[in-house]
Symmetry: C2
Subunit: 211 residues, 2 copies
DNA sequence: TAGATTGTTAATCGATTAACAATC
DNA sequence: TAGATTGTTAATCGATTAACAATC
């Protein structure tokens, strides 16, 4: 068994940022970049960039820097942009609707297969070509389709119910737009969005600055 | 001049979480709680809770713990939930629409005054009772209304333009839903949401777990 | 080769956790 | 008072930054 150093969440959360900046560099037709140049663009230290990248491999070349295209490809691989994930949305409210209409996710490998809701006037309709099913059909749907990720956009009173069902159906990933923290145990990966938290932090920082 | 210890972003980002948990405790009619009990609920250490709270003041009582109602009020004050912020939304697309329809923000003190878009068939319409104006009217609107926060949900090609205008109009807070990082300098507070980043991190963690 | 820049080790910094005296 | 639990200082841990030998 190979001894692998655990990669910290701090590093992982920076990966999509590297991915974006490299993608921009490609658009700008920049072929090579040093950690120093990249550090100026990204407003982080060159040291941190080199440390981060070396968690995954030596992608650069001494005296030269990094080949932008190559580094982009490597980070793409790390982030798994070649892989596809099947998603379902629980809750066809405002946020569920907005997410169903986001074309970017499909481009990144995340396909939305179906939407589930309890409201009679939504069931049977389509949102951006994706059918809205009754929540009653969720178990059946998951039994017949491989579902990797449940996107939770249900209202507050339905959160626990929805999270419990999703877990019991064996779905391993939850993209959580509800205000709850959903500690669902080991096997489940939860990525929280917590919009209200973000807004409150903005408010705090604004007032702090103003003082 | 009073020497104030700088409060770290790590602590600040936990504040809304304390706020939520305390709000839940009130709903459960729990009157007092020790850092130990709260730590079990929140899955963080009691030490961290006491350290965090003591950045702002001694809200507890030795031998007793914390009075839930009182602590909730104090954290509310720190987060400024009594204050009101005036917001505008730039971009009446899917996300702009969803945010305009979120009733929660108003409840937390964030009022959405207006929405701006370039598309002729949206201008003049209302979303959740909030008028959609032409982007041409933005400067005029900001001159006549105190605007604290601009919520950026514009498409990629409009990001720099929108951010530049918002900054030049003197708006001090940006809630950024675009994929860009917007380094706009000192005076501006930017809070990023970066949904795609979040989704990619979820994908990474899922694949990592699966291996 | 000389210059540049990485990969990597060591030093520093900051955040988390532990410990315990203060005190309700 | 005795027990409990805070507020706070000290210890630890992890993440960031600096330094530099390796090497292109």
């Amino acid at each position: 068994m190979i001894e692998e150093k655990k990669i910290s969440m701090a590093v992982i959360r920076r990966l999509p940022r590297y991915f974006r900046y490299l993608s921009d560099l490609i658009k700008l037709d920049i072929k090579r970049i040093s950690s120093k140049e990249l550090s100026e663009r990204m407003q982080i230290t060159a040291s941190q960039i080199r440390q981060d990248l070396n968690c995954f491999g030596g992608f650069g070349q001494q005296g030269y820097g990094y080949n932008v295209e190559y580094l982009y490809e490597e980070i793409s691989k790390i982030l798994g942009t070649d892989k596809r994930f099947s998603c379902i949305i629980l809750g066809a409210g405002n946020m569920g609707n907005a997410l169903a209409n986001y074309e970017n996710f499909k481009k990144r490998g995340y396909d939305i297969l179906a939407i589930f809701d309890v409201s009679e006037d939504k069931i049977g309709k389509k949102i951006n070509g994706i059918e809205v099913y009754s929540t009653d059909k969720l178990a059946e749907f998951v039994a017949n389709n491989k579902v990797d990720i449940a996107i939770l956009t249900v209202p507050n009173k339905k959160i626990i119910e929805a999270a419990t069902e999703v877990t019991s159906l064996g779905i391993k990933g939850i993209w959580n737009f509800t205000p709850s923290d959903l500690s669902l145990g080991e096997g489940i990966v939860v990525e929280n969005v917590h919009l209200s938290d973000s807004l409150m932090v903005l408010g705090y920082r604004l007032r702090e600055k103003g003082e």
